[in-house]
């Protein structure tokens, strides 16, 4: 793993939210590297800061202090449009609530990121179709989200995340709304994608889901509490 360069690199990240006159320290000096091709699960109880980290890695939010690099580029030096392009080209998002556009069918939902792409993506329709086939929904392309099961909707969302051939797939509680059988299917799909070279970062609070990942990072109170890639960390902390 040391042979590959880190595709996500965080240095001393702090994120403070202001709620009225109260300050909430959601992230408190987080430093971590994720290398290309890793499958990482980020775990922790709610409020531990794992979602805040996900928002930062996803270029959806900016840290209060600290610096981060994605694919070698420092996010603090990028403007709003450049961040949008980074999300479009390098990152793929999968959400707990799927976030599909309800009035559009599966095919149109998967096409959406391709239509926002600024670089040439070739045949948009062919790509969208290929992505849906990859997640096993080749026969349901004209179904609207309401006509699909939860697991199928999450597959559409994954196909959408893959449409622009991202380097990193970010999944925020991807199985939170699914039953256990479907959970297994979705996590196996993620494993497949990881084997094809995509870096996968999954946020979850379920140990079973996290077990699909090769590396688990535990968060507590905005800090990295444990990291299976760095066992010395826990010893240092826990004493």
């Amino acid at each position: 793993m040391a042979a590959t360069r880190p595709i996500i690199s965080c240095r001393d990240l702090t994120r403070i939210y202001r709620m009225g006159d109260q300050e909430v320290r959601a992230l408190d000096g987080v430093t971590l590297d994720i290398h290309e091709g890793e499958f990482v699960a980020i775990m922790g109880p709610s409020g531990s800061g794992k979602s805040s980290l996900m928002n930062l890695i996803g270029a959806l939010d900016r840290p209060t202090s600290g610096e981060m690099w994605i694919n070698g580029r420092a996010l603090s030096e990028m403007n709003r449009d450049e961040l949008a392009d980074l999300r479009n080209e390098t990152l793929g998002f999968v959400f707990q609530q799927f976030n599909l556009l309800p009035r559009q069918d599966a095919f149109q939902n998967v096409r959406l990121p391709l239509r926002y792409a600024r670089k040439d993506v070739g045949d948009i329709d062919a790509r969208a179709r290929a992505c849906l086939e990859m997640v096993g929904l080749g026969s349901r392309m004209d179904h609207r989200p309401m006509q699909l099961s939860g697991g199928q909707q999450q597959r559409v969302a994954i196909a959408r995340a893959l449409a622009n051939r991202p380097r990193i797939l970010l999944a925020d509680e991807p199985t939170g709304a699914l039953d256990s059988k479907t959970t297994v299917e979705i996590m196996q799909l993620m494993q497949d994608l990881n084997r094809q070279g995509i870096t996968v970062v999954v946020i979850t609070h379920e140990a079973e889901v996290a077990s699909y990942a090769a590396r688990q990072i535990h968060f507590l109170d905005g800090k990295v509490e444990a990291d299976t890639a760095h066992p010395e960390l826990k010893r240092a902390r826990g004493g």
Partner: protein, 412 residues
């Protein structure tokens, strides 16, 4: 900017809630419809006035008897000292006068083999047709010799012709005018209604004959005035200032009648085209004012559109967040909502135009007033609607574009 995704998203939003779209468009529909009706009325009035001006001629002056005070009472127009043919000759001698004709008019009881018709007859010289810019449609006008010789011939206007000869065979027929037999030698082209305001007398309901013949045999004229004419029409040479000509005719007449300085004129020099133009200016101000009032409803409609767009942005906050998460730039979101507002207003504009068109047709039917729907009106109405969308859609669209992605995505 990604226009394709913006337009298709806008169209989808528009048709996903048709009732709301329609209600939102209502203000625009009413605004565009009324702008269109008002502009059409204005254009119609303008066209009618232009037609009247061209019928009267822009460089024609009319010399009429003035008013006279008798016993401290104004006797009304035409009561002043009458003109005679020496006045006509004096006017015709002025250097800037192209031609002039004296006219004597009176009532005429015309009888053809087919019908009776009460109309008026105008006696004039051969210049009558040139001065009035009035062409003969069928047959011919009378010549200078016929005019001087007092030939018993008349040229008839379209309306008089239609009533006297329902059968259609006109030229060469003989009719009796106030019991005097005359020959119809020509039919004049149509001049339409004159006098301004759209509802003047029918200028085609007339007979025109040689001045001396009309005076000596048909109307009689003023028996106290030798060679009487009731008015004089003057055609001013092209390029000569008509207002100045008006001034000089007036000076010459005061001279002829030896009116002391300070005494009022006992005649009038009238420029009918000028009078019509003044009335037209009033009409135009009026229709501009009405169109402006109609435009206010467009603005009110625009505020309605802005309101609904703001609601729509709020309702779709999560959708906006999702679009941003998968790579939409702020500009893409701005364009999407701007297109939605413009599409909403333009569609409302098209519907409003259809309704406005029906309104124009209905109004034209009811009032008999001429109305004109020109491409300029259509373009103005549509352009106004689209601009309302652009202006009032911008603020909601900008608000959508400036949303914070993470807050939008977590919004519920």
């Amino acid at each position: 900017m990604k226009y394709g995704v913006a337009t298709s998203s806008a169209a989808e939003a528009l048709f996903s809630n048709p009732l709301r779209s329609l209600l939102t468009m209502l203000g625009i529909i009413i605004g565009v419809a009324s702008v269109m009706v008002m502009m059409s009325i204005g254009e119609g009035a303008k066209a009618a006035i232009e037609k009247q001006i061209s019928a009267v001629g822009t460089n024609v002056l009319t010399l009429q008897p003035g008013t006279m005070n008798r016993g401290g009472r104004n006797q009304g127009g035409g009561s002043g000292r009458p003109f005679n043919e020496t006045d006509v000759a004096a006017v015709a001698d002025l250097p800037f006068v192209e031609s002039a004709t004296g006219i004597l008019s009176g009532q005429a009881n015309a009888v053809s083999e087919e019908a009776n018709w009460v109309t008026n007859i105008q006696g004039g010289t051969a210049s009558f047709f040139e001065v009035n810019n009035w062409k003969v449609d069928e047959g011919r006008a009378f010549s200078e010799q016929e005019a001087q010789g007092g030939a018993a011939v008349v040229v008839v206007g379209k309306t008089a012709a239609k009533n006297l000869f329902p059968g259609g065979n006109i030229v060469g027929q003989r009719i009796r005018v106030n019991s005097v037999p005359v020959e119809v030698i020509g039919v004049l082209e149509s001049k339409g209604q004159g006098g301004g305001g759209g509802m003047g007398p029918d200028r085609d309901d007339t007979l025109v004959g040689p001045l001396s013949m009309v005076r000596n045999r048909i109307t009689g004229g003023n028996r106290w005035v030798s060679r009487h004419v009731s008015r004089i029409q003057i055609l001013v040479q092209d390029g000569y200032d008509v207002a100045e000509a008006q001034e000089e005719v007036s000076t010459m007449m005061r001279d002829r009648r030896r009116i002391e300085p300070g005494q009022p004129d006992n005649f009038m020099v009238v420029n009918f085209a000028d009078m019509i133009k003044q009335r037209a200016a009033v009409a135009e101000t009026m229709s501009t004012l009405l169109a402006f009032t109609a435009a206010v409803s467009l603005i009110v409609g625009g505020v309605g559109v802005m309101n609904i767009m703001l609601v729509s942005v709020t309702e779709r906050t999560r959708e906006i967040g999702l679009r941003m998460a998968i790579g939409a730039r702020g500009g893409d979101i701005l364009l999407q909502f701007l297109f939605e507002a413009i599409a909403l207003c333009t569609l409302g504009g098209v519907i409003g135009m259809a309704i406005g068109w029906l309104g124009v047709l209905g109004y034209a039917q009811l009032s008999q007033a001429p109305m004109v729907v020109s491409p300029i009106i259509v373009a103005t109405a549509l352009g106004a609607a689209a601009s309302v969308g652009l202006i009032f859609g911008f603020f909601p669209a900008r608000r959508a574009a400036q949303l914070d992605p993470i807050q939008a995505l977590r919004y519920d």
